[in-house]
């Protein structure tokens, strides 16, 4: 998420809607963004200022460096942390807002960009606070992710229940590795809290246990994903399957569409995803990294077979110039704005506007095939 650094003025964290209007009510839900504070500005949940002093009785606030301007975040939900940082938790202009419910996970994917940590309840409190502030607001899209959000079962159910009851018209994506929904009773409780706009995005990185279990580094993981998919289908819940292409599974791409189509024809959307080379992925670069140029043929065959079957699919995290032409129309701009970039050579490209770009987080590991596209 987007983060800015300042200087802490009061050591208590706060979450609120960023505002530059002192008339915003209730003040207790808002964080005032104002360069010079006056006495009458008391009562806001927090302050982001260029002043050195906060109004009387204030508990949370930070001083921004002079050059930093946050006016484009007015209306967004932000968190002031104890150490003087601002985290943008909910950006109104962004369609990829997510609740990070935990850093803990029950698998250990070799290409995970986000190494797991023990669960910290603060993530649940943060999600609750954001949901409190979103009550009554128009929300089009929400995402629940982690770590593996389903392992904190009751809290997870509480958060999806709030998402679907407080924002019944919003689409909700739940990212999961499918290691818990194989328990039918749990899947059923999840399904009961779902709406027709809820979609479980389940990771499956191979068409057999040989590949999938090797990648997620857990025995029987594939079989659990399989049962989870069947459970979700029986429960009539929206399903997406996500396949991250790496050196360990790219050879499976040619037959993947046939496998999905015959075995899981009820899946609503498939995502073929490129690597984000940070975290474990960076650590295991020799085992996982493959240049997308080196699986063009395999990807091309996947796209051909998927198109024949009218499979609904997208390609995420791939630059348009390195994928086969047939695949381009399925590529989505999937990298979150805050960690997305283009590189100088892209300036000459005629389709840069449609291209999803690169991860700033990927340690500058880029394909040898990057080149400007001339139409």
């Amino acid at each position: 998420m987007r983060t800015y650094s300042g200087e802490s003025l009061k050591a208590k964290s706060s979450i609120g809607i960023l505002t530059d209007n002192t008339d915003s009510i209730p003040r207790g839900n808002h964080i005032l963004y104002k360069d010079n504070l006056s006495l009458s500005d008391f009562g806001f949940r927090g302050y982001v200022t260029k002043d050195n002093k906060l109004p009387l009785l204030s508990k949370s606030g930070l001083k921004l460096p002079d050059e930093l301007d946050l006016s484009h975040h007015i209306g967004d939900i932000v968190k002031i942390s104890e150490d003087g940082q601002i985290h943008v938790l909910w950006e109104n202009s962004c369609s990829q807002n997510a609740f990070y419910l935990t850093d803990a996970c029950n698998v250990n994917c070799i290409m995970c960009p986000q190494p797991q940590k023990p669960h910290d309840k603060i993530h649940i409190d943060t999600a609750r606070s954001v949901l409190d502030l979103l009550v009554g607001q128009k929300v089009e899209h929400m995402c629940i992710t982690g770590g593996e959000p389903t392992i904190i079962k009751d809290n997870f159910l509480e958060i999806i229940a709030r998402c679907t009851t407080e924002h019944p018209d919003a689409s909700l994506q739940i990212l999961t590795n499918g290691q818990t929904l194989n328990e039918f009773e749990f899947a059923k409780r999840c399904a009961e809290l779902s709406t027709p706009k809820t979609c479980y995005c389940v990771s499956m990185h191979g068409d057999t246990p040989l590949t999938h279990d090797l990648i997620v580094r857990r025995d029987n993981a594939f079989s659990k994903v399989h049962s989870s998919l069947y459970n979700l289908s029986k429960l009539n819940v929206g399903i997406e399957v996500r396949f991250v292409v790496s050196k360990l599974n790219y050879t499976r791409l040619p037959g993947l569409a046939e496998f999905f189509f015959r075995t899981y024809p009820f899946v609503h959307h498939f995502a073929i995803m490129g690597l984000e080379m940070t975290g474990c992925a960076a650590k295991n670069v020799d085992e996982v990294w493959i240049d997308p140029m080196d699986y063009r043929e395999e990807l091309d065959r996947f796209v051909l077979e998927a198109e024949r079957r009218a499979i609904n699919f997208s390609i995420y995290n791939h630059q348009l110039c390195v994928i086969p032409e047939r695949a381009r129309k399925h590529a989505k701009r999937s990298i979150s704005d805050w960690k997305c970039k283009h590189i100088p050579v892209c300036d000459k490209c005629m389709i840069q506007g449609e291209c999803g770009g690169f991860f700033t987080t990927s340690n500058n590991l880029i394909s040898k095939g990057i080149q400007p596209v001339c139409l």
Binding site: D207, F222, S223, S227, G255, E307
Partner: protein
């Protein structure tokens, strides 16, 4: 690979081909294993290449987690056999045996134009509809057949309206089809069918000379001109998509494949069903004049299909329905009930036919046999038997029991059996036993040749061929990729 020792072999069917062993499974997956690799598979030490091992596991031919593999395979099989879940949905009514044509190959041996003693009565029609609605199937298709069903017209609106009325209570998904040669149709009749959303299934054998060769009017010579005139009339009232046609191949059609397809395209049909002659009725008597071998039919079929694919490649969207059916069976896990090619046979459990007098048969061929004096397949009569007596009797049980390819000698180990079906009454007619004599029957020969051909195209990855067939079974694809032309 460390997991190799845990890999187990699941049940499969196989056949030797030149360079590979072709493998299929009861749940519909297939794979060509190179011969050397297949030997490694049999040699229990495995050591197959990693990609082949995974290809086989993902198709449930091999398994690491047997429970998961069985779960996947069973789900596919259940899905493929879903046509069994709902019981009889196709109900065919013979409104009369009379016909205004006397087609050379007619399999039902129709009666003269004025033989009104062979007309269905309103009382019988009412009892038939009552019986039909006892079927547990949520979908009901009522098909009017004959003779020429429109000659006893009053039965058609009676059945449609009575069924619509009953359906207010049963709330099934009800469809009506009139199978007619069109020659007795009028503006008023088309308007009536249109107002009740009825489909029309007709017959067209090709250009005028081919059509008239077999499809003869009792009075006068040509039926073609009247057919075309009424087809246009029907289209102007019912629209383009409500009238489809069936094509029957005679010896004279074999060399004329291109003209036949062109005729269908010219007349605005979106597809054709290439049908070989059935060895019953007049066709049996005329075998010498009209008949041909399975090999001849296959050559004709292949030429038709190749021509149709070239038409699609140049932008004419046109389907061969039998190929589309088989391709769907081969490439998907979906249920493809088709009464004439199902395992177990659809005779009785998927479709049934009600004769003009209320007698019920599992298929038209059973009714034919009765006309020839053998009432072996008569399941009952709607005037005196209940739905239960008719549909759970000994005949239907015997047919089901003896038409599961999975258990039939000569079929159970056929590599194509997951995609094929049984025709028990035809077997009885030809061999005196409903199990039949396979391989070797004409039915088997024809389908084997077609399967060989289709699977060869799949193996060769003939892109134009495959793109075209996919566009037939997956209607929301963009059709044929013209870059392949």
């Amino acid at each position: 690979m460390s997991s190799e020792s845990k890999i187990q072999i699941m049940p499969f069917l196989f056949r030797r081909e030149e360079k590979e062993i072709f493998v299929t499974t009861v749940h519909g997956d297939f794979y060509w294993i190179p011969r050397a690799e297949f030997n490694k598979l049999l040699d229990s030490s495995f050591g197959l290449s990693d990609n082949i091992t995974q290809d086989l596991i993902s198709r449930q031919i091999l398994a690491i987690d047997v429970e998961q593999s069985i779960d996947a395979a069973a789900t596919k099989l259940r899905s493929r056999k879903a046509f069994l879940r709902s019981f009889t949905s196709l109900h065919m009514l013979v409104t009369t045996l009379r016909c205004n044509q006397r087609c050379e190959y007619c399999q039902v041996s129709c009666a003269d134009n004025d033989a009104v003693q062979f007309d269905m009565s309103i009382e019988i029609a009412e009892k038939i509809v009552n019986t039909i609605f006892q079927s547990p199937s949520p979908s009901i298709k009522i098909e009017f057949q004959g003779g020429e069903p429109t000659l006893n017209w009053e039965i058609i609106p009676f059945v449609i309206e009575y069924a619509e009325n009953l359906n207010l209570k049963f709330k099934k998904n009800v469809e009506f089809v009139v199978c007619t040669n069109l020659t007795a149709m009028t503006k008023e009749k088309f308007e009536y069918l249109h107002s009740h959303n009825v489909f029309v299934s007709t017959s067209l054998d090709g250009p005028k000379d081919i059509h008239d060769l077999c499809r003869k009017q009792r009075i006068g010579h040509t039926s073609y001109d009247l057919f075309v005139q009424n087809l246009e009339l029907g289209r102007s009232i019912m629209g383009l998509d409500k009238i489809d046609a069936l094509m029957t191949t005679s010896k004279q059609s074999l060399s004329r494949f291109k003209e036949i397809i062109d005729e269908y395209v010219r007349l605005g049909f979106h597809g054709i069903f290439l049908r070989s002659l059935n060895p019953y009725g007049f066709a049996a008597e005329q075998a010498e004049a009209l008949g041909y071998s399975s090999e001849d039919f296959f050559e004709f079929y292949k030429k038709c299909l190749e021509y149709i694919i070239s038409l699609n490649a140049s932008g004419t969207v046109f389907t061969e329905y039998y190929t589309a059916l088989l391709f769907k069976r081969i490439m998907t896990s979906q249920s493809t009930g088709f009464v004439d090619l199902q395992s177990p046979s659809g005779a009785g459990i998927s479709g049934a036919i009600y004769d003009y007098n209320g007698d019920v048969y599992p298929a038209d061929e059973g009714r034919m046999l009765a006309r020839m004096g053998d009432e072996r397949f008569k399941m009952g009569n709607v005037a005196k038997d209940s739905f239960k007596q008719i549909f759970t009797g000994q005949i239907i049980g015997e047919i089901v029991e003896n038409s599961c390819l999975e258990t039939i000698p000569g079929c159970s180990d056929c590599v194509y059996s997951p995609y094929c079906g049984a025709d028990p009454i035809r077997n009885y007619l030809e061999y005196g036993t409903i199990i039949g004599r396979n391989p070797g029957s004409n039915f088997c020969k024809k389908n084997m040749l077609i399967f060989d051909y289709l699977f060869n195209k799949i193996k060769e990855n003939d892109n134009l061929f495959l793109d075209t067939l996919w566009s037939w079974i997956v209607p929301n694809t963009e059709g044929v990729a013209h870059e392949n032309v």
